[in-house]
Symmetry: C2
Subunit: 203 residues, 2 copies
């Protein structure tokens, strides 16, 4: 199987491993305008080393490609080991195919997800959009949702993974929850994306 060969094995995870946390900014639902995607290069759960930015279309089909482009063209690319996404849908229903993202970037992908997404509702919404089968395939390709207990007193986090072993992904998620119950690279990407995104109501 080719799949096995793509799975990175981490021999001991360094506390300062470079992770790119990703989240989208504010947008007007169904507007077909562009939405900011912010990538934050983090050293483990500790400090910020860089920030990347791209744009994808609300409800578009370009998220996987645009994120791949942003990552591989970045000066940080050679040092990065993991992409950590806040969900697999950005800008509404622009679904990231994490399997393809893993293949195209050759980096391990961890997507934080709700533990029990409402797939019936999601499918109903998708079928109203063009190329809905492509979007649905990306959701199926994301695979099973693993549950990670990050802190004794916090709700478990759901994660979907590509190109990384379950145990390694769980260790990285736990290790990076430095200041809260979600991993630091995604927590910070979220704050920055919300603050810097501008409302854009047309293309």
């Amino acid at each position: 199987m080719t799949k096995k060969a793509e799975v990175a094995k981490f021999r001991g995870i360094k506390a300062e491993i470079r992770i790119l946390g990703l989240d989208d900014g504010k947008f007007v639902p169904r507007s077909r305008s562009m939405v900011d995607i912010i990538g934050v290069v983090f050293r483990g759960g500790h400090w910020l080393e860089g920030v990347l930015r791209t744009e994808v279309q609300v409800d578009g089909l370009d998220a996987t490609e645009k994120i791949t482009d942003m990552v591989v063209k970045s000066s940080h690319y050679d040092q990065l080991r993991v992409l950590m996404l806040n969900g697999i849908t950005f800008g509404g229903f622009n679904v990231v195919n994490i399997k393809e993202l893993n293949k195209a970037t050759r980096l391990s992908v961890i997507a934080l997800t709700k533990e029990k997404p409402d797939l019936t509702n999601i499918k109903a919404a998708l079928t109203k959009l063009p190329n809905w089968e492509l979007r649905w395939r990306a959701i199926e390709d994301a695979g099973p949702i693993l549950s990670v207990i990050t802190k004794a007193d916090a709700e478990p986090i759901g994660v979907q993974i590509a190109g990384i072993l379950e145990d390694d992904a769980k260790k990285i998620v736990k290790m990076t929850c430095t200041h809260g119950s979600i991993p630091e690279p995604v927590r910070v990407a979220h704050i920055i994306a919300q603050a810097v995104s501008r409302s854009k109501t047309s293309l």
Copy 2:
């Protein structure tokens, strides 16, 4: 003297004191377009808690007012204690009057500066701009440049201050140099501002 009453005294500086680090983004010199100002709410030299954004005009006169507005309208305002600026000029020669910024926000201001700015050249450039006396007054109001040794092996940092005692300012600058030779709130504000600013060549 009223000045003395405005100087905050810190009875022991908490490692998690809330500081807003500020820097400007990329811009086209002399374009008269708008440039992003990014404010980063940091807990001491440790972690990011929030991000603010505003815009000022390249070579304009609105930096002091726009930054004041951004700060006092923010949900973080009540918790903030210190504003830490990357220099006193943003977007070219839009000079921040740190004395006025201190009065208007009631927060201590620390501006990182070159140790020996070339005031002759700066004045020559300013006199080509409208209201140059106002800009020059802001530069004079920033007061003497204090030298802070942050790390044994690093160049000293110059700082100008308003509404804070010299010793407190020096302690805060040293304490926040967590990941490098400049204070973390400004280091991170700089990275974010550079990454998220867009070229805008006209108003």
